[in-house]
Amino acid sequence: MEFTFSFASLLLLLVVFSLAPLFMGVILKVKAFFGGKQGAPLLIKYYTLIKLLRKGSVYSTSTTFIFKLGPIVSFVTAFMLLLFFPFAGLSPVLSFHGDVIMLFYLLGLGRFFTVLAALDTASPFEGMGAAREVFFSALAEATIFIILVLFFRLSGGSLSFAEYFSGNQVVNLWSQSAALIILVLIALFIILLTENSRVPVDDPATHLELTMIHEVMILDHSGPDLALIEMGSFCKMLFYSAFITCMLYPFHTGIAVFNFIIFITIMTLLYAGIGLVESITARYKMDMVPNFILTSFALVFFATILTMELV
């Protein structure tokens, strides 16, 4: 229940954070491979960030301060998630009992501002993207909270990321409730794709604004503002991937350095997996997306009902 702070973890966080653009490069590389192309260099996202940070901006005459506030809030809220997450078995930078509820609500705040910034431009396309984003994320919220419910049951009353992945009753594939964790992993992967606007929910590489969700909301952002949005989305992706990774391997035991290497390896494989999914599936029709998200909810709900007998 204490508010803990760890310095070594801050160092690790910065390392992982600085690797986030590289991981995104992995996705692009895998997609290029399946497309039979050589593709952009692995470091492409770093170049993009540097390019954006060196540019100026053009603001729409329709916009107000909210348009400028949007990128800041969405980046800060996504970054705060990382502060509370235990990477590679090390305790998180900050942690307290109950932090998961707060953090997912902070993500909601980031989304609130992203959506408002989109509506601020008076563009019909951005309104369209915003309407989709709020609907799909409201559904995804249900899955996230049922996962929290299940984890609370499995770990004997945990309500923070640190508690999930350390202590006596951890939640991962090597614990006694592994069968349920498999369902959670699938559901969480679906949520990862949804929340990070990946295929088959959304296609970050499409060229038709009408079919976009997240990308269309940030059409009018440019320069450092866009860089902030990009970094925010890297953080979010990093968080969900790390969440899955920590469930795949018991990082709370073993040697730190060794753990770190395994962590990075699994993360890379996971990002490659996302690239693989993006390469071999097509984007769903918009009205299929709610079913896709609700599938993830059904999986975890099923797992939760099972705990009534198992635990």
Binding site: M1, F3, K55, G56, S57, V58, Y59, S60, T61, S62, T64, I66, I72, V73, V76, T77, M80, L94, F96, G98, D99, I101, M102, Y105, L106, G108, L109, F112, L116, A118, L119, D120, T121, A122, S123, P124, G127, A130, A131, V134, F135, S137, A138, L139, A140, E141, A142, F145, I146, L148, V149, F152, G157, E209, L219, D220, P224, L228, P290, M308
Partner: protein
């Protein structure tokens, strides 16, 4: 107790003064507003003091007409509700000073202040009532005074209709409450509150259900909420603010109070309340997304928030029934704190809506747009209210929702049905939160951001100073509770200790969690500051230009092409069919050179349709057959009364 009576007296004096001085318009307003604010300030101070200090409950008894005792008692629960009543009423009075500015309607305005004062007094009396008769009298006074406040614009037909609907619902609700009271009286043989805990369990259940229906119709629990979306748009905005912010919570108070008095042990009570909370919460927000009249939309959000409050209370009741102290304490504290929080942000939002309507002359959101440029302060305070009501940090709505979540999570340690109800509560809270954010991005986006969709929105400007100040005060309170919640959570915990189970429970052991939330929020603000500086730094010396919005290759966009509130909410509303009846009319494009096309959509409330088909129409059919009883002959009416009494004396 003396300060309480002084406050009531001052508020009442304000109301009477308004009536007396209606000939001098500004004197009347100044006098009334000052007296009401003064009285509320005094009463609020007293209530806060009682809540924060461990004072014994104050009791006042006065035997009256030798028939019944007029009895008041202020304990922590009463004090908690009194704070909401006085704070919101005072701020709304301040708002009304420049909101009511039609000197030609001096009499109506004077009457408005009189009934406004009466409403505050009656609400304060309801929450302090200490026997059935006092409760019933104060309740009726509250209903009637609010009815007169709703029909301020009595010359409009829509307002009169809204007034009738409200009156019918409030009186039908009162009938249920009185039936419940009668039932209680027949079991205990006294009008006092003391003996209620000792009646048999089955009697408790029946009485609680009757009171739940009665209070629920006041609070706006689906399907008894139908009057809200009619009454709120019709009433003046400061009245909507008080009615939605505080008066409907008096219904919640009734439920809480009789739950505490009856001390039921069955888990069924909590389960019923949770189910009602889930239905009201989810359907309330879905209907809100489908509505395009800003005040009607806010009215449906009141229904949603009543749902959240019921979820909290239901979790608390479930915790009390299963002996889970943490769950009981957090559920009740969360529900109660949400009562207070909702009273702040909902009145803030109604005031914002009132300012928009006053400035533009329309309440239809699809005709507005870009108002934050014309009304910078109102726009920002409305944004604060919107984030708060969506339950997002760093504002107050999150704090109370967090408490409810925390309580519900404790319920996961239970087995069987209680476990399932806890899961349902958590999932519904999450979905409600997501949908509320969807709805309020729509309101803020369509009303305040983008470009004006009609000329009405172009002419707007910032409303009068007293209106702006009122909104600023409420917005500041929302932020304060969000950033430094400790005292407020403690107060809510103290009120929740009225449940016998947790009366001696060490609540302070949980305060570190609240402090940690506060720290995280401060960290959030620090990071926002750091990133803002970084952003400022990265723009230093660079070219920043302004241009039109990127039209994706289309070079002739018009403001009519913007996404409207209707299109924004369409997919969500569609998803919730058949709980929402959607009627669309679309002329279609059917010629090679398409002519004018039209599209319209209406969202119908299934409870309203259900009530019409299954209650109102059959009742009207039946009553039409009995028309002949109503002939206008007074002598015969008196005969009816005598006959009725004789028949009752024979049978009972």
């Amino acid at each position: 107790m003396n300060i309480f009576f002084l406050a009531i007296l001052l508020i009442g004096a304000g109301g009477v003064l308004a009536l007396a001085a209606f000939k001098s318009y500004s004197l009347m307003k100044t006098g009334a507003v000052l007296a009401i604010i003064g009285g509320c300030g005094l009463g609020g101070y007293d209530a806060v003091k009682r809540l924060l200090q461990h004072t014994e409950p104050a009791v006042y008894n006065h035997t009256w007409l030798q028939v019944s005792t007029f009895s008041l008692k202020i304990d922590t629960v009463s004090a908690f509700f009194l704070v909401s009543v006085f704070v919101v009423s005072a701020v709304a009075a301040l708002y009304s000073f420049q909101y009511l500015n039609d000197a030609k309607r001096a009499t109506a305005t004077a009457a408005n202040y009189f009934f406004y004062a009466l409403l505050i007094i009656s609400m304060a009396l309801v929450v302090c009532a200490n026997n059935l008769v006092t409760f019933a009298l104060a309740w009726e006074l509250m209903s009637i005074s609010s009815f007169f406040l709703v029909i301020y614009d009595v010359q409009k037909k829509a307002t009169r209709d809204a007034g009738y609907i409200y009156f019918i619902f409030t009186q039908a609700g009162a009938l249920f409450i009185f039936a419940g009271f009668g039932f209680l009286y027949s079991n205990t043989g006294s009008v006092g509150f003391e003996a209620l805990a000792s009646i048999p369990d089955s009697a408790k259940f029946i009485a609680f259900i009757l009171i739940l229906i009665g209070c629920g119709s006041k609070a706006g629990i689906i399907p008894l909420h139908i009057w809200l979306p009619y009454a709120h748009p019709a009433a003046p905005s400061h009245v909507s603010a008080v009615m939605s912010g505080v008066m409907i919570k008096i219904g919640i108070y009734g439920i809480v109070r009789f739950y505490l008095l009856l001390e039921p042990t069955s888990a069924l009570f909590g389960q019923i309340v949770i189910v009602l909370g889930i239905i009201s919460g989810i359907l309330g927000v879905v209907y809100a997304i489908g509505k395009h009249d800003i005040k009607r939309l806010l009215a449906y959000h009141s229904v949603e928030n009543i749902g959240i409050i019921l979820l909290g209370l239901g979790i608390g009741m479930l915790g009390a029934a299963t002996g889970n102290k943490t769950m009981a304490a957090f559920g009740f504290a969360g529900g109660l704190l949400h009562v207070f929080n909702h009273s702040l942000f909902k009145s803030l939002l109604f005031m914002g809506a009132g300012a928009v309507i006053q400035q533009t002359g329309t309440a239809k959101i699809d005709q507005l747009g870009g108002l934050i440029k014309k009304m910078p302060v109102t726009g920002r305070t409305f944004l604060v209210g919107s984030i708060s009501i969506s339950g997002l940090p760093p504002f107050n709505g999150f704090i109370s929702e967090f408490l409810i979540y925390y309580g519900a999570f404790q319920g996961l340690q239970l087995q069987g049905a209680s476990f399932l109800f806890s899961i349902l509560a958590i999932i519904s809270l999450a979905v409600i939160g997501g949908l509320a954010a969807a709805c309020f991005t729509k309101v803020v986006g369509v009303v305040f951001l983008g470009e004006p969709r009609s000329d009405l929105a172009v002419r707007a400007s910032e409303p009068g100073f007293s209106m702006v100040l009122a909104q600023l005060i409420l917005a500041a309170l929302c932020l304060t509770i969000g950033v430094w919640p400790d005292y407020f959570v403690q107060a809510a915990f103290r009120a929740s200790q009225a449940i016998p189970l947790v009366a001696d429970y060490e609540i302070t052991q949980f305060m570190p969690i609240i402090t940690n939330i506060s720290r995280t929020v401060i960290l959030f603000f620090l990071l926002i500051l750091v990133v803002s500086i970084f952003r400022r730094f990265s723009y230093a010396g660079k070219e920043v230009t302004r241009s039109g919005t990127w039209g994706c290759g289309f070079t002739q966009p018009t403001v009519r092409m913007q996404y409207t509130g209707t299109s924004y909410g369409d997919t969500i509303v569609d998803f919730f069919r058949p709980f929402v009846r959607v009627r669309k009319k679309y002329s279609g494009i059917n010629k090679i050179f398409p002519g004018e096309t039209t599209y319209s959509s209406h969202i119908h409330d299934i409870s309203e349709i259900g009530l019409n088909t299954f209650v109102v129409h059959p009742a009207l059919y039946l009553l039409n057959k009995l028309r002949w009883i109503q002939h206008g002959n007074i002598q015969l009416y008196i005969g009816y009364i005598v006959l009725a009494i004789v028949v009752m004396l024979i049978f009972i």
